[in-house]
Structures are given as C-alpha cells and as structure tokens.
C-alpha cells in the first residue's frame, strides 16, 4: 500500500504547520491497520468505569486512535436543526457542522483529565468529551435527562467527569476562566493542561488580552485556541480585525496556525501544544523560530461553519451560497477522512455506508428517548442558586404569597 502524495500536498497549501508534517509523514509510512469496533470502555479513563457505557466507534487509522465518531457529529447537528425548526428546541441553537475536525482531533490528542472550556457552540465538544447523545438532545429540549438537568440549554453543556467546563453564552467570558483552570492545574502539580476555545469574534475582546498577559506572566499551562470560522456572527474576520492572523497577537506568547478542517493535523497540533505547555520546551512559530521559556501557547484553528451563527441566522446575508458549497466541496473534514480511508483501501464504500446508517439510527433513537424524558419540576426553578440549605429566602412575584428558600 503506497500512500498517494497528493493528499498531503493539499494540506500544506492550507497552512499546516510545516514542522509537524514530518511527524505526520512518519505515520503514513506505517501499514494501515484499521478496526471498526466498540472501544474498550476503559479507554482514556484510567480504569474508572463509565456509569453508562459509551456507544462509540473508534477509528484506528495507521496506529493512530481517533476516539469519537466524526460521522456522528454532523448527523447530530442536522437532527438539532430539524428539532429547532419543529419548535422542540427553544431558545438559541448554535451549530457546529463543518467544524467537527476540531472537536474530534482535539480529543484524540489529549486525555480526559485535560480541561476544555469553550463558547456557546459546544454540542460537538460535549460529545467529543464522552457526552451521551441522549443527554445532549434532552438538554437541548430542556428535559430533566439533560446534562445540565435541562436548566442550561444549548449554550450550557457541561461534563464534570470529563473535565469539560462548558458552554458559555457571553462572548469571551470563558477565556479568563480557562486561564484560571490552568492555574489550578499548575498549582496542584497535575500534568494536565487547559484548552481554552474561543472564536474569531471573541479575539477582539479585552478579556483575551488580560488573560493572555496573566497566563504568560505566571507561566500557566493554558492553550488558547481560536476557532477561526471566518465569521463573527455576520461579520467577516477581515472587517473587525486589523490583524486577522490571530495567532500572532500573542507577541510574547508563541502561536501556531493549524488547518482546522484536517482532523489529523488538529490532533498533532494539540498533542504538540500539550507537551509544550507542560514542559517549557522550544516551540516553532509559523514564521521564524524563537526559543521562549513560555508555556502558554496560542493556536489558531482555521475552520468553517456551514450553518449560520445560530438558528436565527440564515447564514446567507453576509456570505454567498457558493462560498459555503465551495468550502464544503474542497475542505470538508469528513470528506477528507473518507477519501483517505478509501484511497488507502482501509475501508470500502459499503462499510462507510453501513456506518452512516448506524449513526442515523443512533441519532434517531437518542432523539426519541430524549423526547420521552420529562420536563423539570417547577420547584427546580429555585434550586442551585446558592449552596443547598444556605437558607437564603427568595420572594415570588407577590411578596405576600410566594416565599421560597433557595437551594
């Protein structure tokens, strides 16, 4: 089996870190064993049992395990799309399809002890962290089975046992928070890092620079990842940003630019960043080479979202449909993996189609199960405001009648 050269050339055109591709080439010369099977339940959990067994296929590509299912994520987003349109999901719904390579690749490069914190576009990150489909759909529909007990909604998915710190509505607010997580990890001398994800819109927030300064000053193992999908809601990146090369904004913090549509490149970048952030090793910038003792590192993931900013945004008032379909044809992450698999004879068309059918069924089952889950009790409105039994009283709409002790 000889790997075809063309596939790797297209990657480098899109700006893959040149220093990482030698590592990548080393991988491709290995013979490609592939297994499609249920993963070991202990995978990445160091022996701690899942309380619900994961239903994930794993993709072992040339000895490189990519947990999670790239095909599941866009299917989930499409299901969420139709649920929103049929008004089962209320509120706001921000879809991630087109950007799946980021979620999957990142998971592949790190462990469950490394923390991830992200913005409101968190459905796929949640699934990547081991979240269940049923939990995700229940949370979207505001049911009790949801990961935040139905009180958070689309923008607030969390998973404590997988160190996923969520899901934040306010743009950029999670960045200082994420640096705080890194500080805690450093202080407890854990060999873990925090991945702080934000978008190209948030890259212009003051909070980012404050957090960056502190993280670099105190040498925190924080990896600031900008998911550059080229549009801050309706505004293309070249409009609000003097320098759209967000990875260079670190100045004293080294930055990498990665093709966020290539799952393997993302995986390598995250692995690399984690090692750098933990150790103080020398790192390579895209332009020039600097030796810095800094641990903090900024990564720009060049990616793209097919849907609009949220379900209220058609996504066509600020970009042409040709642009969207063009990106889908040339850079679609799932297509890329599919081509790799087919060209290296790792899988046949039929096998891939079977997986797609399985995935569709899984998603449909999860949606059906989620629909059956009950809506939270009205008393839940007052829970989890303060610590339980704190004794704080709250008043209802009419001070005389409704008095509730907040829990």
């Amino acid at each position: 089996l000889t790997p075809k050269k063309e596939t790797f050339q297209t990657k480098s055109e899109n700006g893959v870190i040149t220093t990482l591709s030698p590592i990548h080439h080393r991988f491709t010369s290995l013979p490609p064993p592939l297994r499609f099977d249920r993963p070991n339940p202990d995978h990445n959990r160091n022996g701690r049992p899942f309380h619900r067994p994961p239903m994930r296929r794993s993709l072992t590509l040339r000895g490189d395990l990519i947990p999670g299912d790239p095909l599941l994520l866009p299917r989930m987003e499409i299901a969420a799309n139709s649920l929103y349109k049929s008004k089962l999901i209320r509120g706001f719904c921000h879809l991630y399809d087109g950007q799946e390579a980021l979620a999957v690749g990142m998971e592949a490069g790190i462990t469950k002890e490394d923390a991830i914190i992200t913005s409101y576009r968190d459905h796929c990150t949640f699934l990547g962290r081991g979240g269940e489909l049923v939990d995700a759909f229940s949370e979207l529909m505001g049911r009790m089975r949801g990961c935040s007990n139905g009180k958070g909604g689309s923008m607030h998915f969390y998973k404590k046992d997988a160190s996923f710190y969520g899901g934040h509505g306010i743009v950029g607010a999670q960045i200082p928070l994420g640096c705080g997580l890194a500080f805690a990890q450093k202080y407890s001398k854990e060999e873990n890092v925090s991945f702080v994800l934000y978008g190209d819109g948030a890259a212009n927030q003051g909070q980012l620079f404050e957090a960056l300064n502190i993280a670099a000053l105190w040498d925190l193992p924080a990896i600031l990842v900008c998911e550059n999908n080229h549009y801050g809601m309706g505004t293309a990146t070249w409009r609000p940003a003097k320098s759209p090369a967000y990875f260079k904004r670190g100045d004293y913090v080294p930055g990498l630019k990665v093709d966020g549509m290539d799952v393997l490149a993302v995986k390598q970048a995250c692995k690399f960043a984690k090692e750098h952030a933990l150790k103080n090793g020398p790192i390579f910038l895209l332009i020039g080479k600097t030796q810095t003792p800094n641990k903090t590192i900024v990564i720009i993931m060049d990616t793209y979202r097919y849907h609009g900013h949220s379900m209220s945004d058609p996504g066509s008032t600020y970009r042409t449909r040709d642009e969207v379909s063009g990106v889908r044809q040339v850079r679609d992450p799932i297509e890329r993996v599919r081509k790799l698999l087919l060209s290296h004879d790792i899988a046949t068309e039929k096998e891939l189609k079977d997986i797609e059918k399985e995935v569709r069924k899984e998603v449909d089952d999860a949606v059906a199960q989620a629909k059956e889950s009950p809506v939270p009790e009205p008393s839940e409105l007052f829970t989890n405001m303060y610590v339980k039994d704190c004794g704080v009283e709250s008043f209802g709409a009419d001070r005389k009648e409704l008095k509730v002790t907040l829990a």
């Binding site: 909604g153 927030q205 940003a241 939270p376 009205p378 007052f382 709409a397």
Partner: protein, 357 residues
Amino acid sequence: MASLLSRFCRKLALPGSAHGSRMTSSTACGSETVKSLNLYSAINQALHIALETDPRSYVFGEDVGFGGVFRCTTGLAERFGKNRVFNTPLCEQGIVGFGIGLAAMGNRAVVEIQFADYIYPAFDQIVNEAAKFRYRSGNQFNCGGLTIRAPYGAVGHGGHYHSQSPEAFFCHVPGIKVVIPRSPREAKGLLLSSIRDPNPVVFFEPKWLYRQAVEEVPEHDYMIPLSQAEIIREGSDITLVGWGAQLTVMEQACLDAEKEGISCELIDLKTLLPWDKETVEASVKKTGRLLISHEAPITGGFGAEISATILERCFLKLEAPVSRVCGLDTPFPLVFEPFYMPTKNKILDAIKSTVNY
C-alpha cells in the same frame, strides 16, 4: 392630541401634567401623515431623521451595517455612507468607550449594544466615564451626545442571555438618563429626544415588541419630552406603574380588573432616571394604592425605588402596602420562563389583594 402636546412641550418644557390618551390608538391631526409601523421600523425612522438633521451624528455597533440583528438600522449605511454608519468589532467596552470619546468632541454617537445582556463589559465605561465626565471636569467636557441603544426584556425563548432587564443597575448611576419606550410611536419620539438630549442616555428597547407592536406613527420629526410620565388610563381605585413591554400585560390586567369593578389608573414612566415623581405622587394621592410591575428580579429592582419614594411622600394617603409584581429572584430561566414572568394573572391577584387589604 398627544402629538400636539408633545410639540408644545418641546418648546415650553411643561412639567408633568396628567392628560389622558389611549395606549395604541392615534388621533392624527390634519397636517401630519401617519403610517402603520412596528417598533423596529419606528426606531429605524427615528435614526434616519437623527442622522439627517445632524451631520455630526454617527451610528455604530456590532453588525449594524447590514441592518442589525433586529433590522433597526436598515438602510442607514446605504443612505449616509460607511463613514457615519459602521460596524465595530465585538468589544462592548471598546464600543462604548469609543462612543464617549466621540461625544466628548461634540458629536452625537448612537451606540448599539446587540443585546442588553451584553452591556456588562461596558458597565465600567458607562458608570465611571460617561456618567461622571461633566461632573469631574467642572463642565469643561461632557459626553452628552452619547446614546446607547440596547434591546432588553423577555422574548419567550431567550434564556439566560437574551432576555435580561438590566435597567435597575443603570438607575443607580447619577449622571446618565435611562429611557424605555412602550410602543412604536413613543419609541420614535423618545429616541429622538434621547439622541438630542444634552446628557448621556441609555435607551432600552423592548425586543418582544419589535415585530409584535404595530401603531400609527407620524412620519415627521417629533420629540416626546423625557422625564415626563404619562397616564395611559384613568382610574380611581389603584395606581399601576410600569414601563416597556410590561405595560401591555398590565393593561390586560386592568381590563380584567374593570370587569370586577376595580378602576385602575395606569402610568407609563417612560424615563426611569430621572423619573417623574410628581405624576405618580399625584395619582397615588388620588387612589391611595400603588402596584409596580417589571420583568427584572424583584429584589433591588427599580420598583423598590418607586415604592420607597412614594412611601415617603404619600404615607398617610396609602390604604395598602405598595405591591410589587416582578420577576423572581433567579437568573432568567430557559424552560421556566412562564413561571418567572410577572403575568397578567399575578398582577390581577395583586390588584385584588391590594384593593381588598
């Protein structure tokens, strides 16, 4: 009738006087043309007029160039050019600070914050810079040309971060004005007054009414005076005070109460800071009972300020404690919104218990 009085008021600055006018009907005087518009179109018209009449006024904010997420700024960039109507990066603190600077040089800066829930990064700029600029410079400088517009309030499915009502935070800041319109006609007049007012103004627009509320709005340039409350509905048993979208709910409750023989007087505050104490005081002295309703959480909401002031002024005339029907003391919930909101029935219950105290 209302528009005639408002033109009068602009020139003579009459103190708050009680006059009855229906909430949504119009009596167009002969010379004006009116058009049926919804809230975002009325605001759009106001912005067009503001930019037309003052060449040194600018509109900017996130995504305003293509018309904004609620279409309030449609057509402005095409008509007045990208130099006067432009998009900003996603940084509220920067946007408001920038607006303060522009205003300090004598321009009119109309800043849009995309949702009131996102106004908090700019809170420092508003409270510490905009509100105190004239005061601390001994009147050498001021940022009176600054107007900050933000959609606020519940919309049915907004959740935690698209439904908040932060007016109470800003009412605690001497130096700025807080204005909240209740309908398209009011919005156009109040927005033009706010933009032309020589003080920094925070203008909250009820997003629920952007499409829902349709009213006959005069097409000409008119201003509604600030700091003047309006009695929308005359009554004798109880005074109800509110603002913004909540007034629609309160009016429903008034109609229901009328069927039970309770005559309610409904007042629209319009300007929360500085608010028209005289009108409310006169009304409470007449009826002897007061009920305040707003969507924001009850503890520390603006209703508390109104209640305390009225108590000071009308203590001996009050027949019952001041009643507040407001949102609950929780973050604005997602699935629990119907429980959280001060609905018509909650207000009706409170009216009855106050009247039967």
